[in-house]
């Protein structure tokens, strides 16, 4: 009676209804709204149900300046990479999400984490932290390059990929250990 089949990327149940336009392939760039996740089950569903596509989760706050710039780049490129990547925004201030914040050890805002087929993809960009991408991107094309590198590595079965960007375009930050 019921036929089981794997969900495709466009049928992610974590899409709230009002943000369906982002996923349904709108032609215009400007009016695309990225879905914001606030519950833990939404994040779980997203990670679990995105198949053969890179899942880009941005952890940040909507009001932060760097976050806004990053959000803008993400929104603009979401249609272009819609065939092999999905993007979602995670609100760091929600209490259910703190689990993830602790798990991924997110301190600097914004942080972008890549997943491929429910595996956490690490990227070696010359920074001390390979598990996430800190900061914004300097241009839309840089972001698309990074996502493409993650996709290729993921399709090959790698769990860590190297960053295709030259070092001057990678935002640098300093990791402090226990405020030292």
């Amino acid at each position: 009676m019921f036929v089981c089949r794997p969900l495709q990327g466009s049928e992610n149940p974590f899409i709230p209804e009002e943000d369906g336009a982002a996923r349904r392939g709108e032609g215009e760039m400007g009016s695309v709204v990225l879905p914001t996740l606030r519950r833990k089950r939404e994040v779980d569903a997203a990670i679990r149900d995105t198949l053969d596509m890179v899942l880009v989760l941005r952890f940040g706050r909507a009001a932060d300046a760097a976050c806004l710039q990053l959000d803008d780049i993400l929104a603009k490129s979401s249609w272009d990479i819609s065939k092999f990547a999905t993007i979602a925004l995670v609100d760091m201030d929600s209490e259910e999400i703190q689990v993830y914040v602790d798990y991924f050890d997110i301190t600097l805002v914004p942080a972008t984490i890549f997943f491929f087929n429910a595996h956490h993809m690490k990227m070696d960009s010359g920074t001390p932290d390979h598990t996430k991408w800190i900061g914004s991107f300097s241009s839309k094309q840089d972001f698309i390059d990074v996502v493409e590198a993650v996709f290729r590595g993921g399709m090959k079965g790698k769990l860590i990929v190297s960053c295709p960007l030259p070092p001057e375009r990678i935002p640098r930050f300093q990791l402090l250990f226990k405020d030292v």
Partner: protein
């Protein structure tokens, strides 16, 4: 109805009186029952043509000797009459029967003869070209080149009349008869012409012929105007599309509605197209071929970029309308108006902007396999990076024998099996790649036959001090590294040997 028969039996009246009569008939009957009036007018029109042609023929006999007067086909002038004949069945049968008897009369020999020779009157260009043919004989003596310079027969007639017997063309004013460039060419050619002035008698004949041609032309114009006025009854659908003036012209030049209907649309498009440019006008700006259709309102209102397509479309639809009209399929003209609407809609559709393009998302990376190329060119390119036999030898080592190296003592690059004893060759030569071998073979075949001047003792082997003579043993497989199929342990040529025990 008896009037008609009377008319026939009388000798043909003068053309001018007939013309006047026709005009009067036309005016009188325009208001009245259209068909009868049309019939009357049509018949008088035929009579005009008959009379003109008759007088023309008579003078023709006097004027000149050769009458290579081409006999054209019959249908066209009959067409005008047929139109009026077809109108008759719409009226009471009484008239029709009477007309039938009259028509029978009209099928008499004399009428047929006249009509056969008259159809040329509807083929304006051929008729006038005949006139021109006659004309050209006489002025030919005086000004032979004029015929090739001025193509249109009416213009030719006018020019001949104007020039008369003048020797000096600067005294003749040709302004208004011809375009100024052609006038210039004519005057230049006249100054160097090889003709002589005409004799008095020839001059008179020439002027008469010119007058006759011009009269015919004027009559033709009158007939066309008349036809144009009646176009709404003759061909309502056609005139709905292209307008009555153009429809009249088309019918005139095609030789009747029937002939126009039989033409394919591509010919209809070219009816009335001007001939080639004269006198060195550049053809770089020559427009596409459009005839009378160029003057239709719908053509003029299309933007220039779409004119070729529009012209083809209008020609096609107007041919359809002409065919409808020739069988009287739609006397109200509604079909013609529908076709016109269709044409308008199509032209508007062409002018729509194209639909906006949607931006496509990027394709999935590595989803489309890369297109591998092959072929000779790629093989040649790959040879530059191929691993040569020398490199293969250098990469291998013999068991138990230390290899030599470039800096000695194990430092530097190792040479592997290069140059070691037992490799079967004195020195490693760069193996010729397959392509070069093929090319060399072809080249040798081509240059095999020398001219024979060389002596019989020469050979194609050339020895350089570097090479020395290296005769390779074709049976030595020692250095075959390319293929891995040959056995390196078992000899391929040797057999089991029997050692006799002594």
């Amino acid at each position: 109805m008896a009037m008609y028969t009377l008319r026939l039996s009388r000798s043909p009246p003068s053309p001018d009186s007939l013309l006047r009569e026709a005009e009067g008939a036309g005016r009188r009957n325009l208001g009245g029952d259209g068909a009868a009036g049309l019939l009357h007018a049509g018949k008088t029109w035929a009579k005009i043509m008959a009379s003109l042609a008759d007088s023309f023929l008579a003078d023709l006999d006097e004027l000149s000797d050769n009458e290579a007067y081409p006999e054209e086909d019959n249908a066209e002038a009959g067409g005008a009459d047929e139109d009026s004949d077809d109108d008759m069945p719409d009226l009471e049968s009484l008239n029709y029967d009477d007309l039938d008897s009259v028509s029978k009369l009209q099928k008499t020999q004399r009428y047929n003869d006249i009509m056969q020779k008259v159809e040329g009157a509807l083929e304006k260009s051929t008729d006038l070209s005949n006139q021109g043919f006659i004309l050209e004989e006489d002025p030919e003596l005086k000004f032979p080149e004029l015929e090739s310079l001025v193509h249109h027969p009416i213009d030719y007639a006018r020019v001949v009349k104007k020039i008369g017997n003048e020797v000096d063309l600067t005294l003749v004013d040709l302004e208004g008869l011809l375009p100024s460039a052609v006038i210039m060419v004519v005057s230049v050619t006249a100054s160097t012409t090889s003709g002589k002035p005409l004799s008095e008698e020839n001059l008179l004949k020439t002027i008469e012929a010119c007058d006759r041609a011009l009269n015919l032309d004027a009559a033709k114009k009158k007939v066309l105007d008349f036809v144009e006025g009646r176009m709404g009854y003759i061909a309502p659908n056609l005139s709905a599309i292209v307008g009555s003036a153009v429809a009249a012209k088309l019918m005139g030049i095609a030789g009747g509605l029937g002939a126009l209907a039989k033409m394919p649309a591509c010919n209809v498009q070219l009816l009335g197209a001007k001939r080639k440019n004269l006198a060195g006008f550049s053809t770089a700006t020559s427009q596409f071929r459009v005839g009378y259709l160029e003057h239709t309102e719908i053509f003029q209102s299309t933007p220039p970029a779409l004119r070729t397509r529009a012209c083809r479309l209008i020609a096609a639809k107007s041919t359809l309308a002409a065919r409808i009209d020739s069988i009287r399929g739609d006397p109200t003209g509604k079909a013609g108006r529908n076709l016109l609407e269709e044409i308008r809609k199509k032209i508007e559709k062409w002018q729509e902007p194209p639909p906006p393009k949607l931006p496509k998302p990027l394709p999935v990376p590595d989803s489309e396999p890369k297109k591998k190329r092959g072929g000779r060119r790629l093989r040649k390119m790959k040879e530059r990076y191929a691993v040569t036999d020398m490199m293969k030898l250098a990469n291998r080592m013999q068991f138990g024998i230390p290899e030599e190296s470039s800096l000695g003592d194990g430092l530097g690059e190792g040479y592997g099996m290069l140059g070691q004893a037992g490799s079967g060759k004195l020195r490693v030569s760069a193996a010729q790649n397959k392509l070069a071998a093929k090319v060399a073979k072809k080249f040798k075949e081509k240059s095999y036959g020398s001219s024979g001047a060389t002596s019989g003792l020469t050979s194609s082997l050339a020895f350089t001090p570097v090479q020395g003579i290296e005769l390779s043993n074709p049976q030595a497989h020692g250095n075959h590294l390319g293929s891995g199929t040959q056995s390196t342990y078992f000899s391929e040529t040797g057999t089991f040997s029997k050692i006799k025990r002594t």
